[in-house]
Amino acid sequence: MSSPDSPPPQSEASHEGAPTATAAKPTAEQVIAGLRATSEGGEDLVQLLTPEGERVQHPDFDIDVSAEDLRGLYRDMVLIRRADREANALQRQGQLGIWVPLLGQEAAQIGAGRAMRPQDMAFPSYREHGVAWCCGVDPTELLGIFRGTDHGSWDPRETNFHLYTIVIGNQCLNAAGYAMGQRFDGKVGDSDGEATIVFFGDGATSQGDVHEGMVWAAVYDAPLVFYCQNNQWAISEPLERQTRVPLYQRARGYGFPGIRVDGNDVLACLAVTRWALDECRTGNGPVLIEAFTYRMDAHTTSDDPTRYRLADELEAWKLKDPIERVRVHLVREGMADQGFFDAIQAEANELAVRFRDYCVNMPNPGLERIFEKVYAEESPQVAAQRDQFFAYHASFADGGDH
């Protein structure tokens, strides 16, 4: 865990010494009712790289990854974790109002993001900084949301990365509609086809919109990958507040495949997502993927996980760190030397500096931002309110004396 190229994952989230809450335990009945294997992911878990960095084979989902690819995945994960930690620190220093950490979910996101082809479209929730990275959204573009200067400044049309969706589950329907459109546009049916991937959490699976998204996608054979990052927690609620059975099994009720993948294994996430997107682009969608992972930090910087989960749960998951296993693998297989790790480390440092620099220098939006772009065709009512408000403001400049 002390590899120099990936910052210690618990720097912000360490709770040693803090009072620990009682671990959330399912009731006996719930266990009997079918809650299985949530601590290990179960038999069905697709894994290609063990926590110890050992490459293992899988009968259905294997891939060829070159050393260069692997180094790239490593680099992606280290850089986005660095940005994530920097953002967390910026929040602590008052530069951001809030931050939503991805710590621990780097493999789940980079694996999925790197499985996308340029023609594919992503609909994120609010934690998908790693997917944003893969879609070419610079991490600085995420900052406005959390600093309160905008609601996301990237262009979803240029990046194929939709804006963050905060209302849990909403994006699953929007993504289903988009994927239907890909089909209606005749872009589905061969290996160059288009596909869409939508991201949501374990908690989100309870929302009606996620269900309806699955109904629509199934009925319209939409090229849509439902990518559920099961990080075991919805804020303070453990998985068993949402379901009795593993989430990937949800797909059975709709008649499309559901696959559980080791969400801390970037290779497995890449392989399974690539397969799923290919299924979709060739016309065999939808597909559900449950990436079995862990939220290693707080829900957001406003959250205090010591109130609801035990520190030893975190310790157990640290052993499955998504970055560390790739580093070990690269070293063991001789795919990377110290020079590589140093270079990545330097790049991460640069990114952190640029990121921080950008953040602290972000201009506040002007007054006019309140009234801008409410509509495509301006509303006279909003315009009148704006003009009045501007006039009122001008009266101060003119020496108004309240």
Partner: protein, 343 residues
């Protein structure tokens, strides 16, 4: 069938034989939808039973037959799904027209409307347009069971980011639905279901008025009546009846419920000094309250009496055997006019 005429218009030879046609409001909508679909292949219609059945009110009659199942979608039965996927389709470049089967069933779709549809343009600072039209047959007077006679328009008028319109006659129905579809903003399109079978003369070669405007539908000088949707007919009847009492009532059809085009209302009130608002909806915190609030502000010295409202009551819609009493009628409107004039 309006279709041939609309085709002719599309072909640019409108001035050949500008024959007007007598059509119902329902047919006006149907013909308007057809024209929009012919004009733009990205226009699609989606909702429950809009395909083979043509919708429970037959507003989409024949469209699936002529435009295919990919442009007229019988969707699964869930309103959040309808709105939510329409948004996704709009992001993909389509122009979806969603049908909500009855007013009372718009609520499962409320979250997608308020949180996504209304906010997407603002959130993205104009990068993302969501030109979705949500058609809602609304209002009472058809003897229906619960949830089939509601007037939810104020919820949407209160929602920034949406535009809200309502047609009151066949001619407006024909034009307004096309204008709504052509607009790049999300639009809640309220259809007065009890007026679906009312007829009017349509001249498909005429130039329609802009969508977001109100209209004086009957000029007058004694008092001003402002209304919209299903109550326009009732209010006009009241105005006609009032002639006998020597009252010349000006009637204004709001047409656009958000943003409201109140210029003509202010102008009228400044002349008459009396204003009565008519709506089926429960009055509390509604759009008639908004009109009253704005008029008292803009026409403070012109008003000779308070703005009065003739509306449904602040109760759920009652069993339909009571609806005649619940809904504003000619007598209640004229009673309010009398009270205003006697103030």
């Amino acid at each position: 069938m309006a279709a041939p005429t609309i085709n002719r218009r599309n072909a640019g030879s409108a001035d050949e034989q500008p024959a007007t046609q007598t059509i119902t409001l329902a047919k006006g909508l149907n013909a308007g939808l057809r024209a929009a679909m012919e004009r733009d292949p990205k226009v699609i219609v989606m909702g429950e039973d809009v395909g083979k059945l043509g919708g429970v009110f037959r507003i989409t009659d024949g469209l699936q037959k002529d435009f295919g199942e990919q442009r007229v979608l019988d969707t699964p039965l869930a309103e959040s799904g309808i709105i939510g996927t329409a948004i996704g389709l709009a992001l993909r470049g389509f122009r979806p027209v969603c049908e909500i089967q009855f007013d009372g069933f718009v609520f499962p779709g409320f979250d997608q409307i308020v949180s996504q549809l209304a906010k997407m343009h603002y959130r993205s600072q104009g990068k993302l347009k969501v030109p979705v039209v949500v058609r809602v047959p609304y209002g009472g007077g058809i003897g229906a069971v619960e949830h089939h006679s509601e007037s939810p328009e104020s919820y949407f008028a209160h929602t920034a980011g949406l535009k809200v319109v309502s047609c009151a006659n066949a001619v407006d129905a024909y034009w307004m639905i096309q204008q709504a579809i052509a607009s790049d903003d999300p639009i809640m399109f309220f259809e007065p279901k009890r007026r679906y079978w009312e007829k009017a003369e349509l001249d498909p070669t005429a130039e329609p008025e802009p969508l977001f405007t109100s209209r004086v539908v009957r000029p007058g000088s004694t008092a001003t009546l402002v209304t919209y949707g299903p109550m326009v007919k009732t209010t006009l009847e009241a105005a006609i009846a009032a002639e006998d009492d020597g009252h010349s009532l000006e009637v204004i059809d709001l047409r656009s419920l958000s943003p409201m085009d109140l210029g003509p209302v202010f102008e009228s009130v400044r002349r008459t000094g009396h204003l009565v608002l008519v709506s089926e909806a429960a009055p509390e915190s509604s759009l008639t309250a908004e009109v009253a609030a704005r008029v008292q502000q803009e026409c403070f010295y012109s008003l000779e009496a308070p703005v009065l409202r003739v509306t449904g009551f602040d109760t759920p819609y009652p069993p339909s055997k009571c609806e005649e009493e619940f809904l504003p009628d000619l007598d209640r409107i004229l009673d309010a006019v009398d009270r205003s004039l006697a103030y």
